[in-house]
Amino acid sequence: MNRTYELMFIVRPDMAEEDQDKLISTLESAVTSFGGRVKSIERMGKRRLAYTVRKFQDGIYVLLTAEGSGGLMHELERRLRVSEPVIKFLTVRIDEEQKRLDKIKAIRAAKRKTSSTPAAAEAAGETPAATA
């Protein structure tokens, strides 16, 4: 239930703005109906594709970060696969990677603070880890 996923998908470039919003809101409601939580939605704009996908040379990239179970992502991918304007998608699980990065940051912060002031070690070490 606490898995964090990052789903990046490409929408065909000739899609209207409101259709994009409709698609994104559909996905958002799907996430919440499956008991997940949308962390962020980022539209990365139109980009040139590195190769031709379904006869398109450009595409609109959208990045959706969500928290939820594996079944949630399964459902989202199923919807993207059947939706006609989405031409490509990629799901990456990022909670393990985030854990590793936080651990490294905490170690680095602790090392840095103990070298300067030992009293502020714990206090300064906790806050960056909490915000990160």
Partner: protein, 135 residues
């Protein structure tokens, strides 16, 4: 071809029963075949002996020969997260043909090279990097 030469040599006292022995083993009997050891050396990180144009052409063209002590860019700059989304960082490690550059040319350390190559493959899947470029 290599098995035939090994059988023809015949004089080696090593166990010839296993002809599929990889070339990386450094046995004293191999001294009689100098070209094999040279090939092993070139596979290792001893680029000073090989031809300068072999792998140096990738690094912007200004490099005439290799630097012995190539450092891992990620270790030096303490870049922890190699994301598939930052194409500019990944493109430094991709040849013009779209191939991933081996770490003996870029000097990346092994764990970072592993993460880098999986990030490049993810970027290829989402059409941020090409699978095959010109050649």
């Amino acid at each position: 071809m290599t098995e035939e030469t090994r059988a023809a040599a015949g004089s080696t006292t090593e166990a010839v029963a296993t002809p599929e022995r990889p070339e990386r083993t450094d046995r004293p009997e191999r001294a009689e075949r100098p070209e094999r050891t040279e090939r092993v050396d070139r596979g290792e990180r001893r680029p000073g002996r090989s031809s300068p144009g072999a792998g140096g052409g990738r690094e912007g063209g200004a490099r005439k020969f290799f630097r012995r002590k190539k450092v891992c860019k990620f270790c030096v700059e303490k870049i922890e997260a190699i994301n598939y989304k930052d194409v500019r960082l990944l493109q430094q490690f991709v040849a013009e043909s779209g191939k991933i550059v081996p770490r003996r040319l870029t000097g990346v350390c092994t764990p970072h090279q592993r993460r880098l190559s999986s990030a490049i493959k993810q970027a290829r899947n989402i059409a941020l990097l090409p699978f095959a470029g010109r050649a």
